[in-house]
Amino acid sequence: MNTPGSLHTPAFSHYSLAWSPFHNARLALASAANFGLVGNGRLHIVSLVPPTLQLDKAYDTQDGLYDIAWSEIHENQIVTASGDGSIKLWDVMLNDLPIRAWHEHTREVFSVDWSNLDKEFFISSSWDGTVKLWTPSRPHSVQTLHAHSACIYQAIFSPHHPSTLATCSFDGTMKIFDLPPSLPDTPHPPAHAALTVPASVTEVLTLDWNKYRPFNIATAGVDKNVKIWDCRMVKMGSTAEVGGICERELRGHEYAVRKVQWSPHRADLIASTSYDMTCRVWSAKPNPPAPSLLHVHDAHTEFVVGCAWSLYDEGLLASCSWDCKVNVYRV
């Protein structure tokens, strides 16, 4: 394995990173001072210029940034999730200030995800237990989903069905929702999940949809295992169901797993990062031809919290950590 690049950003620990869907060498990093415990945040725009990474731009924010998502419709726009409950849209051609800011969540926004099917929309999830649907042109959220009664750590759109999304929460469940057609903004009752998967007895910190197999979802969290669920039995729009078949459990991380991401190029390849300070790549073939662990990236010196596969360059993986570094490498 070679290391195409590494970048150190003193004083700012990274929480998340995302490759641009438009430029093959552009990355954005969500970062926070003091390990995100207190203080400011910073959005970094980074280019991969082999053999190194180069910092193009940085935007300071009032509170730590926890997640980030590139617009699927505008190559220069990027949305960030912040600890103060705000969501901001940035244009990387401009300097200093965001082009939009929304503040509806009452607690930390911990994830944002841009739909790559309905490219006008993105969702955010927050510790206030809600998922909100947004579009840059509107001053308020389009829809609010009271998805869990506990904190939601991540919410992401299905890559296969435009109105379908999945959430994972402190309460140990992963839920799949079908967004109802937009209603006038009335007080919504707690939303009914099409499927609730009791994924763990502890918190589920992260999830990802398999890009090739619809309703194949990976979850991971405090129980340290990456679990792969087959949720094909879900019937969208019907009554709430509970279940989910765990078709694979990937064990090896020594502490909680913070992030999982399926490869955009292969159906059975998945990367995970953990508080054990490693980033690992697994083979997730349902009937295990052992070993499932393909690669361990051990270079980070603090908790590894984010990772992302390059969308253009197969096998190129970036991971970011509280050690203020982002590493890009080939696996």
Binding site: S13, Y15, A32, N34, F35, G36, L37, V38, G39, N40, Q62, D63, G64, Y66, G83, D84, G85, H103, T106, R107, E108, W127, D128, G129, H148, S149, A150, C151, Y153, S169, F170, D171, G172, T173, T196, P198, S200, V201, T202, E203, L205, V222, D223, K224, E241, V242, G243, E254, Y255, A256, R258, Y275, D276, M277, T301, E302, F303, V305, W322, D323
Partner: protein, 694 residues
């Protein structure tokens, strides 16, 4: 906990980056607990516990946590209405402010927060007397609402999540408390009326939201976090800047000021303060310390220097102004100017007058007595960092009266029969014979069987304290430590077992054991295993020492060598074919290595031998879950809960006696069975509800 966001009406518990971090550490411990406890799929019991803190006032807690019971510190579960504030009202200055009578104008969304702040604060022993509170609350009130969101910042949620959640030892404390001592538990949270530190946002600055931050809380939490990884041998963890920061926070070398982490500058006992009120002046943290003066008030209350609890002098010490302001600004007049001194002087004056006024209203002496008791106990427990060795007995034990039971017990114990006595009987016997190591041992084993590990550890520790040569107790203690994932403790216990074993005490392999501190945990384990193997070999031909095999099995479990561990337990079983504990261990070892179906027969056998063996029943339930027979699993877990309840109580309030690990497991099972309504009963630990449902 000074952190409103944590409790702030949010449905979830504490959360933030750190939260998951710490949870994850919990998890780490949890793994080990699987060994003799739940099988793999059950994941961490620690996490089970984490959510469990609920015991007291669970229903009430539900109000705040919407049933999520995510494990706030115990005090948070104590309701405002459980505080008997009225009696204290006269005693403390804060009473004057609209803070305590909860419904204050700005309360609104802040209400819950402040309530909880109060409680948790008290429980965490940090009564902050904050002058600004009195000065600023009213005027700032309107701003609270406005800034409430700011309090949700990550910091508030994370680092400050209640330490109770983070680590077993603390957790254990909570549990011990909660489970056994409900009645006495409540007053604990009541004592001193501290106002929670309200954010002094009147001087709000644009860029830095700042929450009042309780330095002790932070330090303690950081300490727990650091403790959680102390076993970690990976050098990356030793070198981690983040963990380094946590260490410094623990040692109070660093504190949080506003939105920054800075070097601590105040050397008094309560160095940092919720600092925001001084932010507009941007300087002079030390003066802030002075201004607050709380340092003078609290430590005295805390450190037990009051020899005479309840004496009225205490009260006057607390509130007589000269004492309170004993170290005025002069003392540390460093770079700070007269302005500050004057500022402080004003505070002093304000407080002096206030305190004078308040002193007139004497609190009834009994209250102070009780208060002192509470504080005393608090020291021992709520800090959580110190190991707690005080075993908490169930209150109102009916077996405690009359000595007939004593004699009966005594004969039984004398014959070393592990009887079908209930925990209460055993506790009564122990209480009547507090120096009887055997009694403590029996109680410990019983608690193990009943899936109440913390109690088991405490009882067993007591047993070996009383009789260091008590081999069975050392072995049992090793097992409990393993379940609690205290590897070092387990190694110590096994080493003691070897050293005190007369049969092998003078044998050669022992000498190969280095002094404990010299080797890494991994090395120690290897050494112990070698030593035990050598001992096993020294046995006469064909003879198997079941204890050695058991000890080996325990050790191998700590290193996840389940195959070998199984062999050891089986070898022990061959010698003791009727030991239900061993059957359960073989079963658990099998389950941990993923062979749940094979484990079943061992659990069944264990239950045949001892039908009230709760742990085996629980393990059986877990294996059923792993095998996806949820119906059966639910039955077993429910049985275990019923047994646990029956065993440890004689009617009355039983919440808190049943273990939350069981409840959480049952909840998951109910969800799997698509019985959401039953799952919600689990959230409230409502066994009666289940009885009605069937």
């Amino acid at each position: 906990m000074a952190l409103p966001a944590l409790v702030g009406g949010a449905d979830c518990g504490p959360l933030n980056p750190l939260q998951s971090l710490s949870k994850q550490f919990d998890r780490d411990r949890g793994v080990q607990q699987d060994h003799f406890g739940p099988g793999r799929a059950s994941t961490s019991r620690e996490n089970f516990r984490t959510r469990s803190a609920p015991a007291p006032g669970l229903d009430d807690a539900a109000r705040f946590f919407s049933g999520e019971a995510s494990g706030p510190p115990f005090a948070q579960h104590v309701l405002p209405d459980s505080f008997d504030l009225s009696s204290l009202r006269g005693g403390l200055p804060q009473q004057k402010h609209p803070v305590l009578p909860l419904p204050s104008p700005w309360a609104g969304d802040f209400l819950n927060q402040s309530t909880l702040q109060l409680t948790s604060h008290q429980s965490h022993s940090e009564p902050n007397i904050n002058p600004y509170q009195s000065l600023g609350v009213d005027s700032a009130g309107s701003q609270y609402r406005q800034y409430t969101p700011s309090m949700n910042s990550a910091f508030a949620n994370g680092v400050f999540r209640p330490p109770m959640q983070m680590l077993p030892n603390v957790q254990g404390v909570t549990q011990g408390f909660a489970l056994t001592d409900l009645p006495r538990f409540r007053p604990e949270a009541e004592p001193v009326i501290t106002q929670a530190d309200f954010p002094q946002e009147e001087i709000h600055q644009h860029e830095s939201y700042s929450e009042p931050i309780d330095a002790d809380e932070l330090s303690r939490t950081a300490g727990l976090l650091v403790d959680a990884v102390k076993e970690e041998t990976n050098p990356k963890f030793q070198n981690s800047a983040f963990l380094g920061l946590m260490r410094q926070l623990r040692d109070k070398e660093l504190v949080v000021e506003g939105a920054e982490v800075v070097k601590a500058q105040v050397s008094s006992t309560n160095d940092t303060l919720p600092s925001t009120w001084a932010q507009d002046f941007t300087a002079a943290p030390d003066v802030k310390g002075k201004g607050k003066a709380r340092a003078d008030i609290i430590p005295e209350l805390m450190d037990g220097t009051y020899a005479a609890p309840g004496s009225s002098s205490r009260k006057s010490v607390h509130f007589s102004p000269p004492e309170v302001f004993v170290d005025g600004p002069e003392k540390i007049e460093d770079s700070d100017d007269r302005y500050w001194r004057q500022e402080n002087q004003e505070y002093q004056n304000y407080w002096s007058s206030l305190d004078h006024g308040e002193t007139q209203l004497a609190a009834p002496a009994p209250d102070w007595d009780r208060l002192q008791d509470d504080w005393d106990r608090f020291e021992a427990t709520a800090t959580g960092i110190k190991p707690v060795s005080v075993y908490q007995f169930q209150p109102s034990n009916p077996y405690l009266v009359g000595d007939s039971s004593t004699t009966r017990n005594h004969t039984m114990h004398a014959q070393r029969i592990i009887s079908d006595q209930s925990v209460l009987e055993k506790e009564a016997f122990v209480q009547n014979n507090p120096r009887n190591a055997i009694a403590w041992y029996e109680l410990g084993v019983k608690q193990q069987e009943n899936e109440r590990e913390t109690h088991a550890v405490q009882a067993l520790q007591r047993a070996v304290e009383l009789d260091p040569s008590y081999l069975e107790a050392w072995l049992a203690l090793a097992i409990s430590y393993t379940n609690e994932n205290d590897k070092a403790g387990a190694y110590d216990a096994i080493e003691q077992w070897v050293r005190n074993n007369e049969r092998y005490g003078d044998s050669r392999p022992l000498e190969s054991l280095n002094r404990e501190s010299e080797t890494s945990p991994g090395g120690r384990q290897e050494q112990l295993i070698q030593c035990l193997m050598a001992l096993a070999r020294t046995a006469p031909d064909g003879e198997v020492d079941a204890d050695i095999q058991t000890a080996l099995g325990v050790l191998l479990n700590t290193s996840e060598e389940y195959g070998k561990a199984q062999d050891c337990f089986r070898a022990a079983l061959a010698v003791r074919p009727n030991d239900w504990l061993l059957y359960n261990r073989v079963g658990a070892t099998l389950a941990n290595s993923g062979q749940s179906s094979d484990a079943l027969q061992y659990y069944y056998r264990a239950l045949e031998l001892n039908p009230s063996y709760i742990r085996a029943r629980f393990n059986l339930g877990i294996s059923c879950i792993n095998l996806k027979s949820y119906d059966e699993a639910a039955v077993h877990i429910l049985d275990a809960l019923v047994l646990q309840e029956n065993d440890a109580s004689d009617g009355g309030d039983t919440r808190g006696i049943t273990s939350s690990a069981l409840w959480d497991c049952l909840r998951t099972t109910c969800l799997q069975l698509q019985r959401a309504e039953l799952a919600s009963l689990c959230d409230s630990h409502d066994l009666d509800g289940f009885r009605k449902a069937f």
